[in-house]
Amino acid sequence: MATFQQDVEATIPALRRYARALTRDADIADDLVQDTLVRALRSEHLFHGGELRSWMYTILTNLNRNRLRSLARRPAMSSIDDNDAPDLAGPEAGGRDIERALATLVEDQRNALLLVVLEGLSYREVATVQGVPIGTVMSRLARARAQIKNYLEGGRPTLRRVK
């Protein structure tokens, strides 16, 4: 029991990192992590050994999918990225492009890419998290990388200037 909780606790920083990259919003990310922890702690009886880390990523990935679906049912909200303020120069500026590029990905592709590249999961582990064959994981990765490359090389939509 205590060990399970300790193991869960040890995953929190990495879950936050994954969630932050998935949502690109610190608050929403932490909400997701919090929900993931609550879900995991309540579902201890459902965890039959194996990779706890993969299990936690699975819960978070699924909760995020639910969140995106419920967002899609609501009226569209304009993103703060749409407004006309210039980009802030500074330590974050370098990360903006990759952040925007990630935002253009299809959800499953973004999940797969981040689990591999940021979280260091193996293809097999990602296949478990996503509940698909390894071949599907690889094609998601390939599409994600092609899309990001295309975006970074200028295939991005023209920036709108609103006055």
Partner: protein, 267 residues
Amino acid sequence: MIDRELPVTEDDLHAYVDGELPAGRKEAVTAWLAAHPEQAALVAAWQAQGDAIRTRYGAVVNETLPIRLKLDQVLRNSRAGGRPWKAMAAAAAAAIFMIGGATGWMARGASASAPAPAPSVFERFTAEALEAYRLYVVEVRHPVEVPGSERKHMTQWLSKRLGYEQRIPDLQSIGLRLVGGRLLPGPTGAAAFYMYEGPSGERFTIYCARVEAPETALRFKDGERAAAFYWADDNAAYVVTGPANRERLETVTKAIYEQMEAGTKKS
């Protein structure tokens, strides 16, 4: 055994980037790439993407966990059943107010010796906020950059500049009208400054900015003619400043605090 002469596929290249190739195959692909610059450039681009993602988000694991993500806190909430955010946020607001009241009182009585969760951030933010208050509250014609009637535009603009979503509280229920807001330099970057006005012309301001500081209870700071309440959540620090009437300021702060926190803890 893997035939080193097998043609190299795109899947191989991804597996190469992700360290998923068996040892023998990895060498074969390395050699193959040396002779195929176009594919080598592709591999380099993928590696650069990975580096950019890790650079952008890797440091999150070193951030201090917000209180709500500490395991014992999660366990407590989990046992309480569900995540009834509104009830919990209200309870948290009430609890923090009780603590904050005591801390503020102690701070006044025993100034420097009172335990301070983040003294420097608290001091710096409060000093900046009080200064901004003194500077702009006396302005009659140009107290703000964006009038309160343009709330939506102001929210978007300042959200963008501060790097997190701004919530501009509606204080009509306690008789305060939003005059507007402006962007100010803060101790740690851009700060937002919102001004409200009561029927008798009394003005209250909210000064807020993103900050890397632990969550704190409300803390009270008494100044000349003006006083302030400070708190930080996991994302930002807030200072509510107004005339040095503690009871009234506390009522205003509480209304603001509840709206900020209700917005932050979305379900």
